[in-house]
C-alpha cells in the first residue's frame, strides 16, 4: 500500500508572532517553524499503518521555501520513506484551491491508496485544502478523524459538535483529515534522524507539475487584505480591589447588564 501524507510547515506554537510591514502576513524572519500539529497526527496515523502492514510506503508532500526541508527531514526521521518538496516561488500566495491543485498533481503522479492530511493548519485555520484535494481527485473523503482502522475498507471515527462521534466507512483510494489528539505522535529517534539523511527528497516546480499560471498569488481567488492585532481594551473593563469588592462589582455589572 502507498500512503501520501500532506504536511504544512507552520510557525512553532511558541514562536513570537508579529505582523509584517505590509500588514498582510506575519514576520517570518528569525522565527521557529514546525510541522502543523494536525499534520503530525496525520503522519503518525500513516506510520502506524506502515508498522502494521509490511510493504507500506509513506510519502510526505509539502509546499514551500527551502526551510520546509527541515520539516520533511523530521518526517523522514520519524519513519516516512521519501518526500516530495514543491519548492517554487510561483506557488507562493496560493489559496486553498491552489494548494489543493498542487497536491492533486503530486497525487496523480504518485497514485496513493490513501491520503492523510491534517484537518486544518495552525496558521490559516481554513480546513479547506483536504476536501478540495479529494474533490479534485474524484475520491471519497472524510474529515476530523479521531480514530482510524483498516480492515479491508477504511473505518474512521469522526468528531462532531457536542461531543458526538460518527463512524464512517470509505473504500480506497480515499482521503482522511485528522484531528489533533487522535494518536500519540512518535519522536524521531537519533537513528531515525541519521537514516533520514539518506532518504530522497524529490524537489519539484509548479511547471514540473503542469500548473504554470494556475496557482500562486495571481491565480488565487482569496487574498488576505489585512492582518492586524485588534486594539486592546475595547469592550473590556478590569475590576480592581479586594476579592470581596471585585465580586460585589462583578455581581452589580451582571445585574446592570440584565444578564441574569
Amino acid at each position: 500500500m502507498k500512503i501520501m501524507v500532506c504536511i504544512k510547515q507552520v510557525p512553532h506554537q511558541d514562536a513570537r508572532l508579529d505582523v509584517n510591514g505590509a500588514g498582510t502576513w506575519i514576520q517570518e524572519e528569525n522565527i521557529k517553524f514546525e510541522i502543523n500539529p494536525y499534520d503530525q497526527n496525520a503522519l503518525e496515523a500513516a506510520l502506524q499503518l506502515k508498522d502494521k502492514e509490511a510493504g507500506t510506503e509513506v510519502v510526505v508532500v509539502s509546499i514551500g521555501p527551502e526551510r520546509v526541508t527541515q520539516s520533511l527531514r523530521t518526517a523522514l526521521g520519524m519513519g516516512a520513506d521519501r518526500a516530495v518538496h514543491v519548492k517554487d516561488g510561483a506557488a507562493d500566495g496560493s489559496d486553498s484551491l491552489g494548494t489543493a491543485k498542487i497536491l492533486a498533481a503530486v497525487a496523480k503522479a504518485e497514485s496513493p491508496d490513501l491520503i492523510f492530511a491534517g484537518f486544518m493548519s495552525d496558521d490559516g485555520n481554513l480546513a479547506a485544502t483536504g476536501p478540495m484535494l479529494a474533490t479534485l481527485l474524484g475520491i471519497p473523503h472524510t474529515t476530523t478523524a479521531v480514530s482510524f482502522q483498516k480492515n479491508g475498507a477504511i473505518q474512521v471515527e469522526r468528531e462532531l459538535e457536542g461531543g458526538a462521534l460518527e463512524v464512517v466507512e470509505l473504500n480506497t483510494p480515499c482521503l482522511v483529515t485528522t484531528q489533533t489528539g487522535m494518536n500519540q505522535v512518535r519522536y524521531a529517534s537519533l537513528k531515525g534522524i541519521m537514516a533520514a539523511k539518506k532518504k530522497p527528497i524529490d524537489v519539484k516546480t509548479v511547471a514540473d507539475l503542469g500548473l504554470a499560471g494556475q496557482v500562486g498569488a495571481d491565480a488565487a481567488k482569496i487574498k488576505i487584505e489585512k492582518l492586524y492585532t485588534p486594539p486592546k481594551g475595547q469592550g473590556a473593563e478590569i475590576l480592581s480591589g479586594s476579592v470581596d469588592e471585585v465580586v460585589g462589582k462583578l455581581v452589580g455589572k451582571i445585574k446592570e447588564l440584565g444578564l441574569l
Binding site: 527541515q70 526521521g77 519522536y187 529517534s189 534522524i193 541519521m194
Partner: protein, 389 residues
C-alpha cells in the same frame, strides 16, 4: 509556561538540520516525560529508572559512536545539544547519560578489544546494561594519577584491590570501568559488578544532584579474566581522554541549566507586580536579566565553536577546560541571580531554580574543579605548571 530557549544571537542558524532534530527530540523527551517526574525524584533522592529504556530507545546513550554497535553516529555538536537539553531537565539526568556515553561506552570503544565492543556496546546503547566509571578515590580527586587501587597478575587474569568514591550509577551498574595501577602504569579494566569481592554502597546525605545515584565501590581481591583488561589503556592519558569527552558535554549541559533558570526568571519578572508594575520594569532586575542572557550567549558561542573543533578533530583538552570552567561557573552565578529574582518563591521546588543551583555546585566541582581547569589553562598559556609540587 512552555520553555522558550534563549537564542539571542540566532545560533539556531549555525546548526545543521540533523543537529536541530536531535535537539528537538531530546527537548520533547525532557518536557513530556522527564519534567513531570523530576520533583518527586529529587525529593526522594532517586533517579527515575523507569525512563532508562526510553532514553535508550531514542538513542541518547553513546550517540556519537558508530551504527555498527547500535549507536546513531551523530556529531559532537549534536551530543552537546543532547547534554544541554538533558541538563535543562536536571544535572542528574545529564550525569546519567554522560557517564553511560562518555565514561563507559567511549572507553570501551576507544580502548577496548573487538570482543569488548561487540559484547558491551549494543547492550549499553539499549540500556540493557548500565555502566559506571571508577577513577576517583577517597584521597585522590584532582590528582587521579596518585591512585592507590592496584591490579596484579594472578591465575591467568588480574586481581584488583582498592576503593573508588563519588561514582555516579555505581549501585545501578552491571559493569564498572575501573582504573588501577598495574606495574606502575594506570590501566583500565572491565569489572562485572557481580564478581566476588565487588561491592557498591550508595552514598547518602547529598544536598545536591539528588536525582542521581552516587556510590562508593569496594574492590577486595576481585579476580577478573585477562580479557577484561582494556588493551588500549596503560597510560594516564586514557582515563583523561574519557574525562575530556565528559567535560565537553558538561560545558553544554551547564548552559541548559542556565537557560532554564533564565527563562524561569524572565517569565516570573514579567508577571510579578511589585510597587505597581512588573519587577521586569525595574533597572536592577533588568541588569540581572541582561547579564544572564549575555553570559548564556557567550557560553553558547564557546560551546558551539568547541564542538566544531571537536568534530574537525582539532580540539585540545585545554580548550575543553576553558568551556567547562566558564560555562559551569557562569551557570551557577545565573542560577543564584535567578533565585534572587524569584524572591521567596525561588527556594520552592515548584520552580526549577534552586534545584539547578544546588546541582551546579556539584557540576562546578566534578570532572575537574573550576580551579583545576584554571590551572590547566594557566599552564597552557604560560608554560609554568602551577599544580602542587
Amino acid at each position: 509556561m512552555p520553555f522558550r530557549a534563549p537564542d539571542y544571537y540566532a545560533i539556531e542558524e549555525l546548526l545543521t538540520d540533523e543537529e536541530r532534530q536531535v535537539r528537538d527530540t531530546t527537548r520533547r523527551f525532557v518536557d513530556e516525560e522527564f519534567m513531570p517526574r523530576i520533583v518527586e525524584s529529587y525529593r526522594a533522592g532517586t533517579f527515575p529508572n523507569e525512563l532508562i529504556p526510553r532514553i535508550a530507545e531514542l538513542g541518547l546513550f553513546g550517540p556519537t559512536l558508530p551504527e555498527e554497535y547500535g549507536c546513531a553516529g551523530v556529531s559532537s555538536v549534536a551530543y552537546g545539544l543532547i547534554c544541554q537539553e538533558l541538563e535543562r531537565g536536571d544535572s542528574g539526568l545529564r550525569s546519567f547519560a554522560s557517564v553511560q556515553s562518555s565514561l563507559v561506552m567511549y572507553p570501551i570503544w576507544a580502548f577496548g578489544s573487538d570482543e569488548h565492543k561487540k559484547s558491551w556496546l549494543p547492550r549499553l546503547a539499549k540500556g540493557e546494561a548500565i555502566g559506571c566509571f571508577g577513577l576517583t578515590e577517597p584521597d585522590f580527586g584532582s590528582n587521579p594519577s596518585g591512585m592507590r587501587t592496584t591490579a596484579r597478575r594472578a591465575d591467568g587474569g588480574f586481581v584488583l584491590d582498592g576503593v573508588k568514591r563519588w561514582i555516579t550509577n555505581g549501585n545501578l551498574a552491571d559493569v564498572a570501568v575501573v582504573w588501577a595501577r598495574l606495574e606502575d602504569q594506570i590501566h583500565g579494566f572491565l569489572v562485572e559488578t557481580d564478581r566476588p569481592g565487588f561491592t557498591a554502597e550508595e552514598m547518602h546525605g547529598k544536598l545536591s544532584l539528588r536525582a542521581s545515584v552516587t556510590s562508593e565501590l569496594f574492590l577486595e581481591n576481585v579476580w577478573i579474566p585477562a580479557e577484561n583488561h582494556l588493551p588500549g589503556s596503560g597510560r594516564m592519558k586514557a582515563p583523561l581522554s574519557c574525562l575530556s569527552n565528559a567535560r565537553y558535554g558538561i560545558s553544554w549541559g551547564a548552559l541548559g541549566a542556565a537557560m532554564s533558570c533564565y527563562d524561569t526568571a524572565l517569565e516570573y519578572a514579567k508577571g510579578r507586580v511589585m510597587f505597581s508594575r512588573p519587577i521586569a520594569g525595574y533597572q536592577l532586575v533588568q541588569r540581572k536579566l541582561v547579564e544572564m542572557i549575555t553570559e548564556i550567549t557567550k557560553g553558547q558561542l564557546l560551546a558551539l565553536r568547541l564542538g566544531r573543533l571537536k568534530d574537525a578533530g582539532k580540539v585540545r583538552p585545554e580548550q575543553i577546560s576553558m568551556a567547562k570552567m566558564n560555562n559551569v561557573s557562569k551557570a551557577l552565578a545565573i542560577a543564584r541571580e535567578a533565585r534572587d529574582i524569584l524572591g521567596g518563591n525561588g527556594i520552592m521546588d515548584e520552580y526549577p531554580i534552586m534545584r539547578h543551583m544546588v546541582n551546579l555546585e556539584t557540576v562546578n566541582t566534578y570532572e575537574g574543579t573550576e580551579d583545576v581547569h584554571r590551572l590547566i589553562i594557566g599552564k597552557d598559556i604560560t608554560g609554568f605548571d602551577a599544580f602542587g609540587a
